[in-house]
């Protein structure tokens, strides 16, 4: 884990430099550039960087179609409004989804902490709570999609409210995000099982890759989960609020 001493081939500790000279020294060093990070965590970060580019391309193309259309863009505040108990509230479902995803990030961050402390029970519960939040998020998204498709008549090629590009941007961006959440829920359930059965504590090989992993696995799946939350922050701002 992260605070073991970094050693060279002969087992001698390597002097760690801080600040910008540290960046130069890490990147030019022998064997590994990302020190004090398990390889899986570095790889997850690099995957997330590539995923950032994918989502950014979606959001940028959304920006482009929205800037180029001469037809007014549908008012998202109204499109995503719900009438709850006779009360007309704009964007309410999206707000609830936002709070749910943030809460799932909170429980995930704590699961990582308790994982490193080897508290198996509470770690499992927190991961399961995260998965439950995630699943309810996807459920609300299904509700949102079906309302838009069946009641409002939104299609990828047009809609009654305004610019034809609205549907394409909406289904592509939220669909890809929802897919990420769904994959995340599956990953969380797998990791929760590994924590519960003690696979991580005893470094038992995984069923899929056969690699041994400790509690850094919880942090790695946590990184993915926080990233899903992070993407939602941008979707919420650019697609729903703009």
């Amino acid at each position: 884990m992260s605070n073991e001493a970094v050693v060279d081939e002969a087992g001698r500790p390597i002097a760690m430099v801080e600040g910008l000279p540290g960046v130069v020294s890490d990147w030019s060093s022998d064997q590994r550039a990302f020190k004090r990070v398990p390889w899986g965590k570095a790889m997850m970060w690099i995957f997330l960087l590539s995923d950032t580019f994918i989502f950014s391309i979606f959001l940028t193309s959304y920006m482009t179609v929205r800037m180029t259309t001469t037809v007014p863009w549908p008012n998202t505040s109204e499109v995503f409004a719900l009438t709850v108990f006779g009360e007309h509230i704009p964007l309410i479902l999206i707000a609830i989804m936002t709070f749910i995803l943030i809460s799932s990030s909170g429980t995930m961050a704590m699961a990582v902490k308790f994982g490193y402390e080897k508290k198996r029970k509470i770690t499992t519960y927190l991961i399961l709570a995260t998965a439950l939040f995630g699943a309810s998020f996807v459920g609300m998204q299904v509700f949102e999609w079906s309302k838009l498709i069946f009641e409002e008549g939104v299609r990828p090629w047009g809609n009654p409210m305004g610019s034809a590009q609205f549907g394409a941007a909406f289904f592509m961006i939220t669909g890809f995000h929802g897919f990420h959440v769904s994959v995340g829920v599956v990953l969380l359930l797998i990791v929760a099982r590994k924590v519960w059965t003690g696979d991580l504590e005893n470094m038992r090989p995984g069923f899929f890759t056969g690699r041994k992993g400790g509690y850094e696995i919880v942090e790695i799946v946590g990184l993915y989960w926080h990233f899903v939350d992070l993407v939602w922050v941008f979707i919420f701002a650019f697609f729903y609020l703009w």
Partner: protein, 121 residues
């Protein structure tokens, strides 16, 4: 350096509750921007401000970037900046497309006056 590494294992749980609460407050505030129907530059700057604050807190604390070595933070965060070039180029292009559509496609509300220099030769 040792203090930074010791922190990785032992974060007090309070910090997560604080960040959690802060994210709730920031989300509520960005929702209020819509609810109160702020418009124009006020709306956009508030949305962007809350968005970047939320993103920053998630990356720094939940994703532990604050506790990582600078070499990793640079490798992940600096390439993201390239996206600004993409966004900049696409918005230039989009403005041009919008102007052209306004001038040639329809005479709707989006019509623009085509400047002499922008006319096709």
């Amino acid at each position: 350096m040792s203090e930074a590494t010791a922190e990785v294992q032992e974060h007090p749980i309070a910090i997560y509750f604080w960040v959690w609460g802060l994210l709730f407050v920031l989300s509520a505030m960005s929702y209020m921007v819509d609810y109160m129907q702020f418009q124009g530059y006020l709306r956009w700057s508030l949305i962007l401000l809350f968005m970047f604050l939320k993103a920053g807190f998630i990356i720094a604390f939940f994703m532990h970037m604050r506790y990582e070595r600078l070499a990793l933070a640079c490798a992940i965060l600096i390439p993201t900046g390239c996206l600004l070039v993409l966004i900049g180029l696409m918005s230039f292009e989009a403005n041009h497309t919008y102007d052209t559509r306004g001038a040639y496609l329809d005479a709707g509300p989006g019509i623009m006056v085509v400047q002499e220099s922008e006319k096709p030769h």
